[in-house]
């Protein structure tokens, strides 16, 4: 049995993957595309938090909100200028996929030019380690877990108790019907892209003090959150959460058990899950 420290480490990773995956699924549900640039919004969020804290002296929790707002707005710009145009008549799924993939290198290159390629790190905002006897956990990691819980509860309330949330859910289920009932589907798409990117940005921001911040930091979380979605079931918000938890814990436990072979085992496991249940754990079975 792995020690408690490994489970905690896995849980912290799970928090990031589920937050990222949740945003990706939300975008997929409404726009019908996988936003391949999601990892770069994660990276940009980390940079916003880094500069807000280190250059402007903004308190860390407030800087997280600022990163959510700024990067969320940037996501909306991308939706309006790129995604909306390329999902219109005359364009195929390939065009928008290629465009969001191209944006990966655009944002990484732009971040490299603007912020430098050097890894940056901010001072731990919650210094100290909670000694539990047989294991320790840093206060910063506890903050990541609490932050994720707060985000998930907030998203539950937004999606289930607000007009915007109901419009999003209606559009996800039946966009044409939602439109007939007066829901502005274009506006909902914009809002959803903003929320998705905002979640990615805050996930990147909360990880800033845990890991370092650099222009390429979004790649692995992007791949892992994509896998979380596949495990959980494409289009399922519950699946994104469960997939994120499973993947984070598995990643940590397998790495502890078999060291650097862990990725081979992890991806093999994903393939096995898909062979047994192609629609993922919570996805609808193909008709």
């Amino acid at each position: 049995m792995p020690p408690a420290g490994i489970w905690i480490d896995g849980l912290v990773q799970s928090c990031i993957y589920m937050t990222m995956a949740f945003g990706m699924v939300l975008v997929f549900s409404i726009l019908g595309i996988l936003n391949w640039t999601h990892g770069q919004f994660y990276m940009l969020g980390a940079f916003v938090v880094y500069y807000a804290v280190t250059a402007a002296g903004v308190p860390f929790p407030l800087s997280l909100l600022i990163s959510g707002v700024i990067v969320g707005a940037l996501g909306m710009v991308v939706e309006k200028l790129v995604i909306e145009r390329l999902t219109g008549p005359g364009y195929g799924l390939l065009a928008v996929t290629a465009a969001t993939m191209a944006l990966i290198f655009f944002f990484e290159g732009a971040a490299g030019m603007a912020f430098g390629l050097m890894a940056k790190g901010m001072a731990t905002t919650l210094p100290g380690v909670l000694d539990m006897g047989s294991f320790s956990i840093s206060y910063q990691k506890i903050a990541v877990i609490i932050f994720t819980l707060v985000i998930m509860v907030a998203m539950y309330i937004v999606l289930n108790r607000t007009k915007v949330g109901k419009a999003i859910r209606a559009t996800a289920q039946q966009p044409d019907a939602a439109s007939l009932y007066g829901v502005n589907v274009g506006w909902v798409s914009l809002i959803v892209m903003g929320i998705g990117c905002s979640l990615a940005a805050m996930a990147g921001g909360i990880m800033g003090p845990v890991q370092s911040v650099d222009p390429f930091m979004g790649r692995i979380p992007m791949i892992m959150s994509l896998l979380a979605i596949v495990i959980g079931g494409l289009g399922s918000l519950t699946g994104a959460i469960v997939g994120g938890i499973i993947l984070g814990l598995l990643n940590s436990v397998i790495a502890y058990k078999i060291s650097y072979f862990s990725e081979v085992a992890l991806f093999l496991l994903v393939i096995v899950i898909l062979l047994i249940r192609p629609q993922g754990l919570f996805g609808a079975a193909p008709k």
Binding site: D9, Q13, T54, G121, M122, V129, S212, S252, S262
Partner: protein
């Protein structure tokens, strides 16, 4: 008639002889004077270096130090015969990739006329050597990357002395890694076990096989762990090493990963676990900001400040040059500049190269210069050392340079220990 004929003939002969003498004297007078020494002649020296991509910081940050050293070096330059020469450093981005290395090498040779490369450390040794050797360009580099080791070694490298006669392993990183392990044992004689950590790219490679054999031979207690490139979470690996009884973890030069390990070791509560790296601390500010001030305390890394060595004697003039270089680098960057990790690279390679030119009496004959390098003794920023000639790898590799370590105390580098290098295997 006869008399007149004889006199006129004699006159003709005399005139001809005088004419010939006059012509000879005139020719003697017109013969160009032997060349007198003029101003310094500049020699372009290529430095292929990562200036873009993820490794760029390690190419960019030491640039002021490289430029500062060349500036100091050129104050007097160096003499071959009566002629004084200066060095011009031409730095080109090699992107830390084989393709980038090959393109950079071609650009330096074809566009910049470089006949010598120094200071190279990127992961593209064989790509650059494939360009430099046919062009007889002397290439001062490091060993240690999987391809920059002899093809004859177990695990197989790519270096072949027969086809790469102009390669000089001027910085023996492979041997330095081993000597660093011994320096750690010197610093912590009561250690339990050293956990050696490297990328899975190097697993089973010739360098590791040689190092592990050498450690076993010296009775050093060790365990090893590997990580996939791109890994950011080292908590599982550190937990494994902790459970294996390792109280020292030694990382093979992966700076970003090393920083992550320092931080995560602290978060896991393994405060007594020493984390060391075979590279120098490129910037105190970066480490402190990424790792955190508390977790950075006690970090161990290479220490290349020549004035701090305790077992190695460095020429006082060269020490003065290095200290002046740091001042220039500080002026260039507009702030304190304390990175000394570059001294065994471009500065040391320039010293080896220019002193070899002096011994060879030529700045343009690569074979004569290589003959001077093989087995030659050179005064460098890392001490005075004799190259191994063709005895090691078939390359005139430097030996005896110090593997010197420091530990971070109150945010400053403090000398920890030093161990001389010995050839592998």
């Amino acid at each position: 008639m006869i008399k007149w004929y004889k006199v006129s003939s004699l006159l003709v002969v005399v005139v001809m002889v005088l004419s010939l003498l006059a012509t000879a004297c005139a020719a003697e007078q017109q013969k160009p004077a032997p060349p007198q020494p003029t101003g310094p002649i500049t020699i372009n020296v290529g430095v292929p270096m990562p200036l873009s991509g993820t490794a760029a910081p390690w190419g960019q940050i030491p640039t002021p130090l490289r430029e500062g050293f060349i500036q100091v070096f050129n104050k007097d330059g160096f003499k071959v015969g009566d002629q004084t020469y200066n060095i011009k450093m031409v730095q080109v981005d090699d992107e830390n990739t084989p393709e980038g290395g090959s393109a950079a090498a071609k650009e330096l040779i074809e566009n910049d006329g470089c006949k010598f490369f120094v200071g190279h450390w990127s992961w593209n040794f064989s790509a650059i050597a494939a360009v430099t050797n046919p062009a007889k360009v002397i290439f001062l580099t490091r060993n240690g990357a999987p391809d920059a080791l002899p093809a004859s070694w177990a695990g197989g490298g790519a270096y072949d002395p027969k086809t790469m006669p102009y390669v000089v392993f001027g910085t023996p990183s492979q041997e330095e890694f081993l000597a660093d392990c011994f320096a750690l044992v010197d610093a912590f004689p009561n250690y339990k076990k050293i956990g050696l950590v490297d990328s899975s790219v190097s697993k089973g490679g010739p360098g590791w096989i040689a190092v592990q054999k050498a450690l076993d031979k010296q009775g050093v207690r060790w365990a090893s762990e590997w990580f996939t490139p791109g890994t950011t979470d080292f908590s599982p690996m550190l937990t494994r090493l902790h459970e294996e009884g390792c109280d020292i973890v030694f990382v093979a030069g992966w700076v970003g990963e090393y920083m992550a390990m320092l931080k995560q070791r602290w978060e896991l509560g393994y405060k007594d676990m020493h984390i060391a790296c075979s590279g120098p601390f490129v910037s105190m500010d970066i480490y402190q900001s990424v790792v955190g001030v508390d977790a950075f305390e006690g970090a161990i890394g290479s220490y290349e400040a020549p004035w701090a060595f305790k077992k190695t004697k460095v020429n006082p003039n060269i020490i003065a040059q290095c200290q002046e270089t740091l001042k220039i680098a500080a002026q260039t960057t507009g702030g304190p500049y304390d990175y000394t990790g570059e001294f065994p690279w471009v500065p040391a390679h320039v010293e080896i190269l220019t002193q070899a030119m002096q011994k060879a009496g030529s700045v343009s004959d690569p074979d004569a210069i290589m003959n001077a390098i093989r087995g030659g003794t050179f005064d460098t920023t890392a001490g005075k050392w004799t190259m191994s000639g063709a005895q090691t790898y078939g390359s005139p590799i430097v030996f005896g340079t110090p593997a010197s370590l420091c530990s971070i105390q109150n945010g400053k580098e403090v000398y920890l220990s030093e161990h001389p290098m010995e050839p592998l295997p």
